[in-house]
Symmetry: C3
């Protein structure tokens, strides 16, 4: 039974036991989790998040954690370490964030890890948990950040894209979503604070409470991304924009961005409240039951469920 | 002469008398008003606003007050009563607001009733007049609200749609407008507070000060509605979205929405100021003269003027 | 060497001297500046900014300073004088701002004048420098303002359009841009405060830090302008809207706009900070070098560089 502790459901084992005392699904979950672990260990020497430098001024952060670019506590630590390098560098002016994994920008946060691995992380320099800490520091970088979205960007994937300064998406391949409410919990990386300011209250509520996927065309129409481009043109477009910004003066960039930040960034307290609401909500029996059902049907494995997450979340409720 | 008191023009009888001592138009107005009253009494046993429950989780509020779905003090009381039921219900998660009247979501506020009937209403739980009280409480519901707009949504019709969480409109049939400035007065239900936050200052000023109708296509392009759909697909689309949300966890919905509210709702004081500006402005001679001219040409009767309100408002000014 | 003092580069002569002691480019610049001056003197009797009255209610402000509608300290004074007339007039309800110069709404601020001519200007009634003072007073007019954009609106041209209440652009002819970061300095007329509130943070950062031109179609898609119309229809559309608003009641317009202002105008402090950041940044060696290179290649002369400003700014950096 201690294998239960290998996924995020574990922290509410007691509560769950009241609903499903035999927890057959959890046993199956832990098999999934063990498989994932052995896959991970094969890849331990590879970088799950790659930092490359096109030049001193133009860097690239690439998610490279197949098959889904799941982000869990260790990936958050890795992202935070890279963020520190960007903050400390005297030259970098522009950072593109993209994925090397076909079909996925970032699927979502790791729901198979014990919750304590997340809640037990040491606060970052802002005093907040490393997830909201990463999100607010990413937005406040002096360098300009561009999310290049090819494939699915759900949950924390969408939240990282929203924390970046700009978002460009593939017309054919991008699907953005905040699927969390469909899985029974509150998004944790700040989209309640960011989306209403970006796309207006009405469309923000549709994204967050409809909790379904938005393709590139609709994401552009709603302002969820800056622009959607034909997949064949996306890389060149983003590269040209990044090189253009890289040619500008670093101080002019930073001073201009600082004033945009003043006019547009949500207060850190709203980001903190979002994280707390996530932690509280994910421990509720309703969330646990929904996550368990999703895990049982293939969550966090390459396959149909992850490719159609919005469809599956609507199947396991009342 | 006491028949004058049967419409909203009455409260400034003295001021009007200085401009048009014989008030032939007002006499005509009161005929109109009497006709309207006798029509209303025929329908007293029917519900002018219907509450139906598709399920314990999914409710529907339907305007059913032909021919125009005019909303006056008694309809505001009825809406507030229904709102109380939604607030008190432990299960409801999503509420669709629509109309059973062809051509109209809601035409506008009742301009033929004495102003005292509106100003004399008892404040609601927020301490504000029942109109702004209803608007802010509608936005703060734990349940998600969706306005389904087929036909004209002007004045308070547009304001109720804006107070709802999402808006979906018929491509062929929807026309949204804040016509009030064209009739000489300030909108009272909060669009000055909501529209700039939803569509940006430039388009908000066009809507409010151009004061003309916006069809479904343009309303979507401006972000006035979430999306516009072909009329034949609108009902199914909204129904599917509502059923989807109804399948989610109520606490996850409410906790997520509360944080969206924090990021996007205008302060109540702005809603209150809008209501006060409406009451002050509608009593001015300029507003009285314009409303009188509109009444004389068919305001609040099914017909050409109501179908082309934006055209008519531009005819009676300087 | 004192000819250097005829352009905005002069205030950092000492700093520049350390980088390019022979300043051959500056000598060339001053030739350019002398040519410009003699062109100006030919036109001294003409109005560079025309105020016309279509009626007591509907006025028009027309930039008429060929070939580029450059705005420098004297044009700011002229604009402020006209603004005072609009503020003081008891009747005017709507003001259209347009250009009589083919190809240009307003190219940008005068970069060939000594910086002291700008910094030495007396503060306006808001206590701020006349540039931010003009911008915030333009937005707070009781009258409604409409920018009709045919041709290029860059830098202060874009900023005046953003300070106006609405913007309508020519599909074929309009190009909006905030090119400043590409020239090494921070925009001074408030777009960091306005654009994120108008088009959202992501698109605002693309406009400000991509610093390239946005044609009419894209400007509409981003919400940078209200709407883009075929060039042949633009004048009639704006004229009809202006006449419509001119027919409405002045008090209803002013009271409605005041509440929109409350919900949407940035705090004056953000406008002031933008101006200060411009003044600081334009004096840095990096900005001086970039401006000098642009001047050497044709800045502020009718020709290829001004028509393709976004392309040229990317050529002279690192």
């Amino acid at each position: 039974m201690n294998t239960i502790r290998t996924n995020i459901l574990a922290s509410v084992t007691f509560a769950m036991a009241m609903f499903s005392p035999h927890t057959p699904a959890l046993a199956q979950n832990s098999d999934v989790s063990r498989d994932a672990k052995s896959n991970l260990s094969k890849r331990d020497n590879e970088e799950k998040i790659r930092l490359t430098r096109a030049s001193a001024f133009y860097w690239r952060v690439t998610f490279n954690n197949p098959p889904l670019n799941i982000i869990g506590p260790s990936e958050v630590n890795e992202l935070t370490r890279i963020l520190g390098q960007i903050e400390a560098d005297p030259d970098v002016k522009v950072v593109v964030i993209d994925s090397a994994v076909p079909g996925y920008f970032v699927a979502h946060y790791d729901l198979l890890k014990p919750l304590e691995e997340s809640t037990g992380m040491k606060p970052g320099p802002t005093g907040m948990h490393p997830v909201p800490d990463f999100m607010v520091r990413l937005s406040r970088l002096k360098a300009v950040t561009i999310a290049l979205i090819r494939g699915r960007a759900s949950g924390i994937g969408s939240e990282i894209a929203l924390a970046a300064d700009m978002r460009f998406a593939s017309r054919e391949m991008a699907v953005l979503s905040q699927f969390e409410v469909g899985a029974g919990f509150v998004p944790g990386g700040g989209p309640m604070a960011r989306l209403p300011r970006l796309v207006g209250r009405g469309r923000a509520i549709e994204i967050l409470l409809g909790a379904d996927g938005f393709n590139g065309e609709l994401a552009e129409r709603y302002g969820y991304v800056n622009r959607t481009l034909p997949d064949a043109e996306l890389d060149d477009f983003v590269d040209a924009l990044a090189m253009r910004i890289a040619s500008f003066d670093k101080e002019a960039i930073a001073d201009t961005k600082r004033l945009v930040d003043l006019a547009s960034l949500p207060p850190d307290t709203e980001m903190q409240q979002g994280w707390e609401a996530f932690i509280t909500s994910v421990q509720r029996p309703a969330a646990q039951a929904r996550v368990k059902a999703l895990v049982n049907h293939g969550l966090q494995k390459a396959g149909d469920l992850e490719r159609n997450l919005g469809d599956y979340t609507a199947r396991f409720g009342q």
